[in-house]
């Protein structure tokens, strides 16, 4: 197992885990509108979620639009 961070929370994932499968584990999938993900400070377009393999220490952010001024 290797450790990654998702929205600041530490998580253990199996080697070879992709961004798509990590996000699927929290109920986010690429067909969903209004969400976006970044890996180590760079946006990963949703079409590439399934080919982005997580390295040890990877920092993943997943966001959505919310109320704001």
């Amino acid at each position: 197992m290797l450790e990654v961070s998702l929205n600041g929370e530490r998580r253990q994932v199996a080697p070879g885990t992709t961004l798509a499968s990590l996000l699927a584990s929290v109920g986010v999938d690429a067909s969903q509108g209004g969400v976006a993900a970044a890996l180590d400070g760079a946006v990963v377009p949703r079409a590439r979620w399934s080919s982005a393999v997580l390295e040890p220490g990877a920092e993943v952010e997943v966001i959505r639009a919310t109320a704001g001024g």
Partner: protein
Amino acid sequence: MERSDEAPQGAPLEIGGRTFRSRLMLGTAKYPNLHVLERALAVSGAEIVTVAIRRINLQDDAPGVLDVIDRERVQLLPNTSGCYTAKDAILTAHLAREALGTPWIKVEVLGDDRTLFPDVTELLEACRVLVADGFVVLPYCSDDPVICQRLEELGCAAVMPLGAPIGSGMGLRNPYNLQIIRELVQVPVVVDAGVGTASDAALAMELGCDAVLLNTAVAGAKDPVKMAAAMRAGVEGGRLAFEAGRIPRRLYASASSPLEGMIGTKVGRR
């Protein structure tokens, strides 16, 4: 020919290559609930609506604002609120573009958490990068004419100087600066933050500003839907007054009724 019973309309707002009838931009935060937000948005007539970008709540992600925004009618304006560095604002803008499919971004880089005043050095850097990355950049900035000129030179689609601190409802604290900014830059000037009530919005428009962006004044009102209507009327009235051209101020009275053919003897001094 205009029909005699048809009220004139104010000129449309052109910004970022698009044309809007409404000059009121509305934020979506702090409403009592989504239903009130939806009604306030409809009543306001706003065609540019701001949203924030935040981490998804991994435990419990409730329905959000996008569910009540009519994206056919409205240009979404995601913001970089809560960012304190150019780096964070740039990443947030890219996430917003990916999530929402719009290059429009309200760039907000804060310098201080009590005043929420912009950090203009970080703001300039963020705007420089984002313009180069192809964004339609609308920066929330200080009411500083020089900074507004710099932002225009960078290629921002508008400048959005504050009227007063965010959420303060203090109204336009320095109308003279806003007037100077309006004279010095070519891009639209949007008064962002500080509006407390409809007369503040009307004043911003009477000064010649091109639009008003507000949130708390509506969301925090006792009746947000009614205040949304008031803001719409204030913005429309202020704009029409600006276009109509107000009379000059004068110290002494000038009688409205004709002075010829008056009955009786003149009274009063001189």
